[in-house]
Amino acid sequence: MSIERFLNQTVSPWMNAEGPESDIILTSRIRLARNLKNFMFPTLGTQEEAKKVLDKFKQMIPLINLYPLKDAELLMMEELQPLHKQVLVEKHLISPNLAEQSPQGACLLSQDEVISIMVNEEDHIRIQCIFSGLQLEEALNLANAVDDQLEQHLDYAFSEVRGYLTSCPTNVGTGLRASVMMHLPGLVMTQQMKQLIPSINQLGFVVRGIYGEGSEALGNIFQISNQITLGKSEQDIILDLKNVVEQIVQQERSARESIVKTAGIQLEDKVWRSLGILKNSRIIESKEAAKCLSDVRLGIDIGYIENISRNILNELMILTQPGFLQQYAGGPLRPFERDVRRATLIRERLLLENNS
């Protein structure tokens, strides 16, 4: 049905709302992992078992009484084409794991794409809420509200000592993973990021690239998330993360200031050159596109570039991913064709920006 809408709309509706600190923080995301009592975890469960879990979930959907989940759409992974799944992954609406290897996998997606509930991923249920900017509390509150609704109708696997029981011991306890996506060109340029990562790790937080585990920090975008899920309350976990993130924001701001002060003209040159590349290239690889988009976004934040909206980084980073490009092209593309199409898309998008 309206899967088309989720696919064709690059910018999730929530992205248009600019959250706090949105010059540096792109998104705040909360994920809660939950499992059903008396069912094997999806990693070990059979098809029939997974089907039962999905059926239970489906029966529960009409009983949910929460406004943000009104008219939410249930997407069955088996019914989606691989390309469509890839697009949903690129939009961060489902995990690669759900797209690739989850029998009876499904996702309940809210109309505004803020809430996504994955079924039969690594855990039976994973509730995800994404907000723009730094809004961890808001995201946690919403995820908790969703969780409370589900819990009224589903029996969770919970132990007093271990908390919410999860398939992987790294998630047990609160089942909470809070992550913040940040654009940190200043810290990368001043070579501070490399030193910062180990100290962030020491505080119990993980730093990753834009598409999660093992992915590269394309376009100077980093994801910072909590590692510890057990023995800390949900509120403390997000408060600690918020504190770390706020400090990184401070450092990024001062890095930007010092670059502008000491190498302003070089930075301005870099920014405008990158805009030139984006406006004029006919072939562009995703890595170069990400780098240039990061430069342009920095130029917008600093004020070198006017009349281009800030959203361009978020939007074009997603739009120029392989899945999206092929979705737009209406079919599979070879890598070279993708690079050509990527360049065209970026040029057209920027042209649109100037006319408005």
């Binding site: 499992n35 009592k37 069912f39 094997m40 975890f41 990693t43 070990l44 890839q86 992954v89 690669p96 794991n97 690739e100 290897q101 690594e122 908790n144 969780d147 409370d148 819990e151 009224q152 029996d155 969770y156 696997a157 919970f158 132990s159 007093e160 000592v161 271990r162 908390g163 919410y164 029981l165 999860t166 398939s167 992987c168 011991p169 790294t170 047990v172 306890g173 609160t174 909470l176 119990g204 598409y211 999660g212 585990e213 093992g214 992915s215 590269e216 590692q227 510890i228 899920t229 057990l230 023995g231 800390k232 309350s233 949900e234 690889e285 890595k287 392989p322 899945g323 890598p335």
Partner: protein, 179 residues
């Protein structure tokens, strides 16, 4: 730069592999990178995933932190009655089979959890409203008991007496409500 695999196309995928502490720069063209298992998008299939690393971490564990007689004997099979998963299987894949595994492998799980969660092994945080049962009440009592102790230590006996009565009231509720 030319792709290391096919030696023909130009390399567009660049990353650093670290295996056993040894760094290796890898430069591939997009086609070869995809053939090698979609490294960029779906890293899970590339073999060196977080799961494997985790499993490695677990394997170390029993040797380091066997408190009493918890060390696994080579011939002993510890198994979860509910799902049939053995401890060895769990250590290998780093995932539990079902909720009961947490109890079945309890002795081994506690040190693992401590390592993963900064020394913590006990849940503090949300309790499900419905299936939480009497936990809510008991947690409340626990917190009040701590308050009581600190009040006594500070010799604030009047307040302590209030808290004591509160605890009694909750305990009565617990007896009536639970079982």
């Amino acid at each position: 730069m030319i792709c290391q695999e096919c030696q023909k196309r130009s390399a567009t995928v660049h990353f650093t592999k670290i295996i056993n502490g040894e760094k290796m720069e890898v430069h591939l063209c997009e086609q070869c990178a995809h053939e090698k298992g979609n490294i960029i998008m779906f890293n899970n299939s590339s073999g060196l995933s977080i799961n494997n690393l985790l499993a490695g971490l677990f394997n170390f564990n029993p040797n380091i932190e066997h408190t009493h007689s918890n060390a696994i004997h080579p011939n002993e099979i510890i198994q979860c009655d509910t799902c049939g998963m053995t401890l060895q299987q769990f250590l290998k894949i780093g995932r539990f089979g079902c909720a009961s595994c947490y109890d079945a492998f309890q002795d081994q799980v506690t040190p693992i959890l401590k390592r993963l969660h900064g020394g913590n092994w006990k849940h503090i945080g949300k309790i499900p409203e419905r299936s939480g049962g009497t936990i809510h009440l008991r947690k409340k009592i626990d917190i009040l008991k701590e308050t009581l102790q600190s009040l006594v230590a500070k010799e604030e006996f009047e307040k302590a007496a209030e808290v004591r009565d509160e605890i009694r009231a909750y305990e009565k509720q617990l007896q009536e409500g639970g079982e």
